[in-house]
């Protein structure tokens, strides 16, 4: 197999008495959709936060393309081309799609130290970014708070795609959506993959995981307990691994 793009080795994270991650491993390869699954409290969110720079692990190593890195904030992770679509989307509802797309990465015009926003350019790039993903927004100048849940999700995904050069984490992207919107998100994931970006999908929904992922890694009690190739896997196997009936890796 090719060299892993992102790798977590023996990552440990403790919150007081709670051992959220107990030597967890995780691997993502270039250009794949890898699903990270596990029961509530298995450590999925903690692991994702560790890998996207939101929290620092107590022990263990994170490697990007084989070399160890240390993220002290999400900004550090971004420098490595790692973006996250948060479960709550992290959008400013009063700002329009273009403003949200460029939040914290505004484009300026005129004398740069004045930080005068180049709104036309940002809007133009936003329209292009949405079109690239096949997303149709009726009006990029409408506050995102006025958009539907699915459209908002699309804005958050487009933002991540616009800046991610290596990996996008998607934390429960479909949890709050209806059936039609859910389908759109899965379509978005496929499109991102087509652009050669690795997607790490955190999900509870087994049929969804099987529909969209190439591989599945299973966490239980802060450790990776199994890895599957999706095409050779069934829902039953995934559930067994999540609940502890099946362990493929050494504990």
């Amino acid at each position: 197999m090719t060299e892993p793009l992102l790798e977590a080795r023996e990552v440990v994270k403790r919150y007081g008495q709670v051992q959220a991650l107990d030597g967890a491993n995780f691997t993502a390869y270039p250009g794949e959709v890898v699903a990270l699954i596990g029961d509530n409290g298995a450590g999925k969110s903690t692991l994702v936060k560790t890998l996207s720079g939101v929290i620092r692990p107590d022990a263990g190593q994170i490697l990007v393309e084989g070399s160890p890195v240390s993220f002290s904030s999400p900004l550090d992770a971004r420098k490595y081309g790692i973006e996250t679509v948060y479960q709550d989307l992290a959008l400013a509802p009063d700002l329009d799609a273009a403003a949200n797309l460029h939040l914290g990465r505004e484009i300026y015009r005129w004398f740069k130290p004045l930080h005068v926003l180049d709104k036309a350019e940002m809007r133009r790039r936003a329209v292009t970014a949405f079109a690239d993903l096949g997303i149709h927004l009726p009006d990029v100048t409408a506050p995102v708070g006025t958009l539907s849940g699915g459209q908002r999700q699309s804005v958050a995904v487009a933002r991540a795609v616009a800046y991610a050069s290596r990996i996008i984490f998607m934390d429960e992207p479909t949890a709050a959506l209806g059936v039609v919107q859910r389908e759109r998100v899965l379509e978005n994931i496929r499109r991102v993959k087509d652009r050669g970006i690795t997607v790490v999908l955190i999900s509870h929904n087994m049929p969804e995981v099987l529909a969209v992922s190439d591989r599945v890694e299973v966490l239980r009690m802060g450790r990776r307990v199994a890895r599957f190739t999706t095409s050779e896997t069934t829902v039953d196997q995934l559930v067994s691994a999540m609940t502890g009936a099946l362990t493929i890796e050494e504990p």
Partner: protein, 347 residues
């Protein structure tokens, strides 16, 4: 290392605007708070002009209005930024007094009524710095100590008032440089009072900053969703401190103009300025929940109560109706904001 993914590309899949939908510009104009405020202003002016043809809205009325309103307008500039971050600044009228006292104290011990231009500048700058520093400290209380803005600035209000009385011993300082009074205070340039020139230009400047720059954009973003701003890499705490410092700075500038206009520190003359200013900003369409508001709206909002007062007097109606009407307008403004929010959440 970010990849320039956003390279221009023939957008063959441009979203088509629905034919039955309103043009985005029309829709946005109708949705904007300041459109309604402006409409209210026009209607009011029409009614009053109808009630007393020829008397209302002479240039003289307008400039008198604008002159007495200058300090409120300046404080409303800072308050607009604060309210857009979903904060509130109750301290403004008291910071105004404190800054006037600091400048006045400096003038009294440096030439008094005959002080020269250099002294005037130094005193004014001391006053402005006092305002900015005071506001900045309130910002630290809000951003770093996580004290709710209402309480942080209520605390600041008390401290500013106490300091003003302690510094002056409770007696207004009335030895203000003549040059300051005759120029900034009551003088004009090209036929327009300095108070108007300064307050309007400052409003324009900060209106542009709010609408066009990163500073303004971050102000909206923080008020709209602080967590999103934080995750987007915005230094939320530092920005909040700057916003409160700006509010203090504007109160300081208002304090200098107030000192120049009245030629005294008016220590006990501003107990309700904060409420007047907050009313103006909210009437102007800014949302107390943050994320919404414009400087144009605030500008209209500042003049609505003033025009109401003048209009009522000229129309021969008891002027105390002004307070009742202003209260109703304020209630209507917040109710509109609530409706807008509810509609959006349903979307």
């Amino acid at each position: 290392m970010t990849r320039p993914t956003l390279a221009p590309e023939a957008p063959g899949t441009q979203p088509k605007a629905g034919a039955r939908r309103l043009h985005p510009l029309v829709r946005r104009t109708l949705a904007a708070g300041e459109t309604w405020v402006f409409a209210a202003l026009i209607i009011m002016m029409a009614i009053f002009t109808g009630l007393s043809p020829g008397k209302f809205l002479t240039l003289n009325d307008l400039s008198l209005n604008a002159q007495t309103t200058a300090p409120f307008l300046l404080m409303a500039i800072g308050e607009t930024f604060v309210i857009i971050t979903a904060g509130i600044d109750l301290s403004v009228g008291f910071v105004l007094v404190l800054c006037g006292v600091v400048a006045g104290e400096y003038y009294q011990s440096n030439g008094g009524a005959t002080a020269g231009v250099g002294t005037i500048w130094v005193g004014a700058i001391l006053g402005l710095l006092t305002g900015a520093a005071f506001g900045g400290l309130q910002g630290v209380a809000v951003a770093k100590l996580k004290i709710p803005p209402l309480i942080a600035t209520l605390m600041g209000l008390g401290i500013a008032e106490g300091l003003s009385y302690l510094i002056t011993g409770g007696h207004d300082l009335a030895t203000v440089p003549n040059t300051l009074v005759s120029s900034i205070g009551t003088g004009s340039i090209a036929g327009v009072q300095w108070l108007i020139v300064i307050s309007f230009l400052t409003t324009l400047l900060f209106g542009l900053i709010l609408a066009m720059t990163r500073f303004g954009r971050y102000t909206y973003a923080i008020g709209s969703n602080p967590e999103a701003a934080l995750r987007a890499g915005i230094n939320v705490d530092r920005h909040l401190i700057k916003v409160y410092a700006l509010s203090g700075l504007m109160a300081g500038l208002a304090g200098i103009l107030n000192l120049a206009y009245f030629a005294t520190t008016t220590i006990s003359g501003h107990p309700l300025d904060n409420l007047v200013v907050i009313t103006a900003v909210v009437i102007g369409g800014a949302s107390l929940f943050g994320g919404r508001g414009t400087m144009l709206g605030t500008f209209f909002g500042v003049f609505i109560p003033e025009l109401l007062a003048t209009g009522l007097i000229i129309a021969g109606v008891n002027q105390y109706w002004q307070y009742i009407l202003t209260g109703l307008v304020l209630g209507a403004a917040v109710y509109l904001d609530q409706i807008r929010r509810r509609l959006r959440e349903r979307a």
